[in-house]
């Protein structure tokens, strides 16, 4: 493996890290506040689709990212109203959103662009990289942004009053309520932050990393992000590390598949499972058995 290969692998890993890290960090914030949302896969789908539309209309990729965040925010608000204010079940809305996302985006691509299953985002609507070499390796500005988001999220959760309150309403909302903390407001805010981050992640898929909208663009990343959140022990920094690890092995698998010498000896199906298996083992091994927030997924009703 030469130097160029290492750079290519590293940059590829960082690019793959972004959507999973953003979604995981958001999910950590939401669950720390006690709200479960399994609908991130659906949010990724919708925001990838609408993000591309916004970006193409404005001729600017950043508008696509903001549009994705906005779309995520809308679905988050819906989930928040159902779970936080109407005290509904936390899992059912997510199932609905995931199913809807899968169907609606496939239909939307056909209806809006008139192509079947896939649409390439024109380069003027894509985010231009920070750095790029002659071989096509590039570094997106979303990479440093994502790392910053994870660090800020960790700092806010564990060092500020806002974070203390988020964690309190997820652990023991009754105690928080008794001290005058508006449980519903903090939970709702956390859901909004989480879904907006997932929205950014979705838009990043279409207007930055992949530069295309396909009917399977999320490819399970919403679910991987959830698993990564659990294995991180609900910690944004470890979730960032887990996402990078996944990205690394994801790229390594592609590298192995493209290497005729290795690909012949190991079945590619086996190699394709590598990122999933290794990420789970490593992250789970570091953290051990983490304990979820005590009121995670439970609606809070005053006596």
């Amino acid at each position: 493996m030469n130097e160029a290969m290492v750079i290519s692998l590293l940059l590829g890993s960082l690019a793959a890290m972004v959507p999973i890290a953003l979604t995981s960090v958001g999910a950590v914030i939401s669950e720390r506040a006690g709200v479960v949302n399994i609908g991130y896969e659906g949010i990724l789908m919708f925001s990838a689709f609408f993000g591309a539309i916004f970006a193409e209309l404005a001729g600017n990729g950043w508008v696509g990212i903001l549009g994705g965040a906005f779309v995520g925010l809308l679905f988050g608000a819906l989930h928040g109203v159902l779970t936080v204010y109407l005290k509904g079940d936390h899992v059912i809305p997510g199932i609905g959103l995931n199913l809807l996302g899968a169907g609606a985006v496939a239909f939307g691509i056909r209806a809006y662009w008139g192509t079947a299953g896939q649409h390439t985002v024109p380069s003027d609507a894509q985010i231009s990289p920070l750095w790029m070499d002659a071989f096509g390796n590039s570094l997106s500005p979303m990479v440093p942004i994502t790392i910053a988001v994870a660090i800020v999220a960790w700092w806010v959760l564990f060092k500020t009053p806002f974070g203390l309150r988020i964690r309190a309403v997820g652990e023991n909302p009754e105690a928080a309520d008794a001290l005058g903390i508006n449980v519903e407001l903090y939970r709702f805010t956390a859901v909004l932050i989480a879904s907006a981050l997932a929205g950014v992640a979705g838009a990043y898929l279409s207007v930055d990393w992949l530069g295309t909208v396909t009917k399977q663009i999320a490819a399970g990343r919403g679910f991987i992000a959830l698993a990564n959140m659990v294995f991180s022990g609900w910690n944004p920094l470890i979730a960032l590390g887990g996402a990078f690890l996944f990205g690394f092995f994801d790229n390594l698998a592609i590298y192995i598949q493209n290497n005729p010498w290795l690909a012949g000896t190991i079945p590619w199906q086996f190699i394709a499972t590598l990122p999933y298996v290794v990420t789970l083992i490593v992250v789970a091994g570091i953290i051990g058995r983490a304990r979820p927030p005590k009121w995670d997924g439970r609606p809070y009703k005053r006596e």
Partner: protein, 511 residues
């Protein structure tokens, strides 16, 4: 005292719950500045309801609250705290994974929601508070790892940090050891010295006698009367509380114990976190004997009971019932062999709250032929059985088909005792048999345990209520960190000696 304006007055408070239950029927109480007022009453008398109304947790149906002569109405606990009224609940409201400091400053962390919390400043303020009150709590340990007594002090600190000057304590001693109770009382006296007003809710006469200045007695949602503690006697208060003379002593005729029914040899059991919770216990319970186990909760009593009752794995050692090795046998086999178990937590282990009285009355023997008709349950026989239990044990229930959750705590407990006894056991485990139970039911249950003993049954009593163990046991052991600090006869030890053993000092070995 009477001519000054009360710092707090609750006037003619009525509370009717949506289901029509009248919890409070026009209660008026007055609290004067700097005093400790005892609020005495049985469970279900309405003490806690009254205080929840004061603390903004419940809305009164009718009635007014005056704070320093001005009418107030609190919409939430936070509102009450802002007005200088704090409450420490019977079940603590602490965030278990937070440390003391985080729990205390939560909600008033300082300026700026997104700026760094000034931990050092908060620590200084708390240290000053603790120094004034002459006690310390570790500020950096997650509260779930701290003993209950310390958690309670954190709750008190939490309120004082918010500058409350009226402090309500709901049954604060229910979970404490005698030593912790003494420490709590020292703190309360110190607070009184500082000019704080305290409302002390309890159903324990001796505690009310010791710590309060005046006592208001509540019975069935009404104030029976208010007396100065210095002019009261425990007998007078008991009569006011229950409405009749209570036998505070249990009649227990002397009795020679018979053969060994139950025996444990070098028993080792692990706790939930893998620690050795029970460490090499050996004891026996004879026919016609009540063997009591006292000790602060969390010293392995629960694990011991669960191991004996077939609910937890025995790591090492043997358990014998009537000479047969029952180590590792399943609960059903144990029931069929003549064991009965009154579990320590009635709402989680003793009853299925959503199910009816009738259904609950046969749990643990529902497989027996007497309740079945072929493959089906014979509901007529089950109902007969439930009716018999209700009648014999004076369980007050709306009917055999009513859900068990509609019964009061005392009646739920009587139903469990009735059910377990109806299994016709030779050996009965009674774990915390009167916890959270009103005085009348407590008396009934305690007398019934003595009756079982008189009928030559073997009874293993495990209780955190030291008085209960002292009163009922023929022999008693004091458990500390999974071991017995001594096995003694209740009338041959002083409370002082027992207190020492509860704190981990080994007693004199008995012959």
């Amino acid at each position: 005292m009477e001519e000054q304006t009360p710092v707090l007055e609750m006037r003619d408070i009525v509370k009717v719950y949506p289901d029509g239950t009248k919890a409070l029927k026009g209660v008026t109480i007055k609290v004067y500045e700097g005093e400790i007022l005892g609020l005495l009453g049985e469970n279900g008398a309405g003490k806690t309801t009254l205080m929840k109304i004061l603390f903004g947790m419940l809305k009164p149906t009718r009635g007014k609250i005056f704070l320093r002569g001005k009418e107030v109405r609190f919409k939430s606990p936070a509102d009450a705290i802002a007005n200088g009224i704090g409450m420490v609940h019977q079940h603590f409201t602490l965030v278990e994974v937070f440390n003391a400091l985080e729990n205390i400053i939560l909600g008033m962390e300082g300026h700026g929601l997104l700026s760094k919390i000034d931990v050092e400043n908060a620590r200084k303020k708390l240290q000053k508070l603790m120094d004034e009150l002459n006690f310390q709590v570790p500020l950096d340990v997650p509260v779930e790892n701290l003993p209950v007594g310390v958690q309670q002090r954190i709750e008190i600190l939490k309120m004082l940090y918010r500058d409350v000057d009226i402090l309500i304590l709901d049954e604060p001693t229910a979970v404490l050891t005698p030593i912790e109770v003494r420490e709590l009382f020292a703190v309360l006296r110190k607070l009184k010295e500082q000019g704080k007003t305290i409302i002390f809710i309890s159903h324990k006469l001796n505690e009310v006698m010791e710590i309060t200045d005046r006592v208001t007695v509540i019975r069935k949602g009404e104030v029976v009367g208010t007396v100065k503690t210095s002019e009261a006697t425990p007998q007078l208060l008991a009569r006011m509380m229950v409405g009749r003379d209570v036998v505070l002593r249990i009649e227990k005729p002397p009795k020679e114990p018979g053969e060994v029914i139950f025996r444990v040899e070098d028993l080792w059991v692990k706790g939930d976190r893998g620690e050795d919770a029970v460490r090499g216990l050996t004891f026996e319970v004879r026919a016609g004997e009540i063997f009591g186990i006292a000790g602060v909760e969390g010293n392995g009593q629960s694990e011991l009971i669960e191991a004996i009752a077939g609910l937890r794995k025995v790591e090492k050692g043997k358990v014998y019932l009537k000479g047969v090795d029952i180590t590792g046998k399943r609960p059903r086999e144990l029931y069929d062999m003549g064991m009965a178990h009154i579990p320590e937590d009635r709402t989680h282990m003793g009853l299925i709250l959503e199910m009816s009285v009738m259904e609950n009355s046969i749990l643990g023997m529902h497989w027996r032929k007497e309740f079945s008709k072929g493959f089906l349950l014979d509901w007529n026989k089950v109902e007969e059985h439930a009716k018999r239990l209700i009648e014999e044990f004076e369980v007050s229930a709306p009917g055999t088909k009513a859900p068990v959750k509609s019964l009061s705590g005392g009646n739920q407990q009587k139903l469990i005792v009735a059910r377990e006894v109806s299994k016709r056991p030779d050996f009965i485990i009674a774990a915390q048999p009167t916890r959270g139970v009103d005085v009348a039911s407590t008396e009934y249950i305690r007398n019934y345990l003595v009756k079982l003993r008189n009928e030559n049954k073997a009874v293993l009593l495990v209780s955190a209520d030291l008085d209960e163990v002292l009163q009922l046991s023929d022999r008693m052991a004091i458990m500390y960190e999974g071991q017995f600090m001594g096995i003694v006869k209740p009338d041959e030890v002083t409370e002082e000696q027992i207190g020492l053993m509860m704190g981990g000092v080994k007693g004199e070995p008995q012959k």
